[in-house]
């Protein structure tokens, strides 16, 4: 899943890498979105992975900085209030696609640059 993190790829190769990865990546992201909804991840984390202080302890999973393997390990055996998602109900492939979907979430603007957040 690290391959989708195109921002890590040197700029000279970025365009060609994206061309190669884009079809599979898009499918993965689309499937990840469907799996994110079907498995109820949106319920506590929001459709964009933005989280909530009342349902995810404020944890944001959009563009998570967790590596894919750490992300998967947490989903399988979480600590705290999150319920576990075993392989019996969430396949490794779907979990990987969910990760791709979250990594593909657009980066937010800086809060200081949004006028409504600076009343």
């Amino acid at each position: 899943m690290q391959s989708v993190r195109v921002y890590l790829v040197p700029a000279l190769f970025a365009v060609s890498v994206m061309l190669v990865l884009h079809p599979a990546n898009a499918a993965s992201v689309d499937n990840g979105k469907a799996a994110f909804v079907a498995h109820g991840c949106w319920q506590c984390h929001g459709f964009e992975g933005q989280g909530s202080v009342t349902t995810s302890g404020g944890r944001v999973i959009a563009d998570t900085q967790l590596p894919a393997d750490a992300f998967s390990a947490y989903v399988r055996k979480p600590s705290g209030a999150m319920p576990p998602f075993s392989a019996a109900i969430l396949s490794d492939a779907d979990l990987a696609d969910i990760y791709a979907y979250l990594e593909a979430r657009p980066k937010p603007q800086a809060g200081k640059d949004i006028p409504l957040l600076n009343p």
Binding site: V37, A38, H39, G40, W42, Q43, C44, G46, F47, E48, G49, Q50, G51, S52, V53, T54, T55, G58, V60, A62, G80, A81, M82, P83, P84, F85, S86, A88, I89, P106, P108, Q109, A110, G111, K112, I114, L116, L117, N118, P119
Partner: protein, 653 residues
Amino acid sequence: MPKKDASLKLNRRRFLTAAAVAGASGAVNPAKAANPAEPQQRLPSALPPNAHIAAAETGVPDIPPYAGEGQPGSDFMVDVIKTLDIKYLPANPASSYRAIHESLINYGKNTMPEFLTCTHEEVGVGIAHGYYKIANKPLMTLCHGTVGLMHATMNIYDAFCDRAPVIVLAGNDLDAAHRPPGVPTVHSAQDINAIVRDYTKWDDTPVSAQHFAQSFVRAYQIATTPPFAPVVISLDDGLATEPVRDYGQKLYIPKFVPTAAPAGEQGAVREAARLLVNAEHPVIVADRAVNTEKGIALLVQLAELLQAPVVRQRGRLNIPNTHYLSRPATVIPQADVILGLELTDYWDTVNKFVDNNAEGVGTNSSRIKPDTKLISISTLQLMTKSNYQEFQRFQSVDVPIAGDVEATLPSLIEAVKYALTDDRKNVAAQRGQAIRKDHDKGRDGTRQAAAIAWDASPISTARLCMELYAQIKDFDWSLVPSSGDVSGWPLRLWAMDKHYHWTGTSGGYGVGWGCPASVGGALANRDEGRFSVSIQSDGDLMYVPGALWTAARHKIPMLSVMHNNRGYHQEVMHVQRLSNFRNRLANTGNDLGPIGTSIMNPDIEYHKLAESMGWWAKGPIKDPAELGPAIKEAIAVVKSGQPALLNVWTQPR
């Protein structure tokens, strides 16, 4: 209702009156009781006179003319009610209280109180509860016999849990031999108050006009003495319908004098001050602590003296959220002394429960250090009801002080001032500087969290709240009591420094409270010329949507912005959790959430629902770019005196 046999009625009334007198501790001299309380000798005090003392010293005996012998009993009841400062009476009409209804609108000229037509008893109680939170004054409501009081129960429970005074009169007809058969008898009970006795502070069943006068004034006094809570009085149809009989003793209306709120015992207060002053990391946690500008100012004064962070729980505003000492619960683990002010749940404040296994047992852990000293100022110990479990788990506290927070704060402040040496003042000042830096950092982090999913559809709750705030912030605004759980964004990002900016949650978390409570809050704000806004959740609105009609009917302007996540979202998450714990894929059918938890297929067109009841409304709004212009339109409508609703599709939380 067929006319009853007058001689039998008289006999019944004589019998009941005799029983009441026999049950009293002693005969009352009506003439003496009609006069104000004897002036009480004041004890020396450094504190200014409270409301009780001021009223006792300056009050003028005021015995209004009232209905006498031969007039309907309900006319005299209206006389009694009018001696108290009860402005409105939101209620659903009912035959069991038709006599007092007629007296209120004709004999009483429908003022003080003014009857507000409600479509459900739960609406009447919810409006009274919401009104109190803003106005700090109780309203009364009337409920039909048995079934009407049954309808009202959930919101009475919410008011009880939230320590809100509501005066409930419940219609009934005690006389089984003379009441009409059929429905009126089905709607009668031998002890009608029983259904709400476990979650009201006091109740009575008056059996004479004089008994009613005493009980109503007593009920008002009890309800408005901390801990505040609802009270209920059974209103006998015979007593209200039949002519007043004074049996040769002139009827009187007892004078109401506010009771001085219970303040904490001085020795315990001094010990609390000693612990707080000598702490390295004192933390104040405030829940349902203060709901007046004076109370807020006192709490700020205490916090600033100690330079102690204040964790605002969600019961009341307590301290302006703009104040640098307003801090999140993450400061609690660092505390060596915690002062808990009217906490709903002290246990959960210093411990943590995680619902994280299939058996539902969960795990418990402490949030604090083992030697952290705990102080409590609370009226919880003054409540003695035990059936319903709103008092939460028991938490042992080192210095428990029974008393009202606002009444106790002046002496605690004085004790802290006395205990503060120059050394401790320096320590406090250094602590304050560090807290100020943390506060600024925390605000930046909150703003950044709000930026995530800013352009998402459905609309993020942060975007919803900030689009709204941008257009009301320059008004004298009030976020009225309402139900929408929007991740606390208003408390985190709106500038709140008045008690009516935030007045807390329902108390009992009964769904169906939010809509009527918001109307009640807006009613109180209307009289002050304030702009009312509510954040209305979808599930809550569908319980008693008729509250919308009451707002339109009585011209109560307010802007209701919906947090429509199309589901009973708490339950969405609960069923999902259990599915996961049991290693099962949650069955969502054709919905987004597990079967039975979504409100979709079809989607409810709340804007049309509101329009049908006289509101200006618009929706569904799904594109965040459309939200700001829609709010602008709605505000113009509200400014013209009409309620307006925006149906906004939102992210789940």
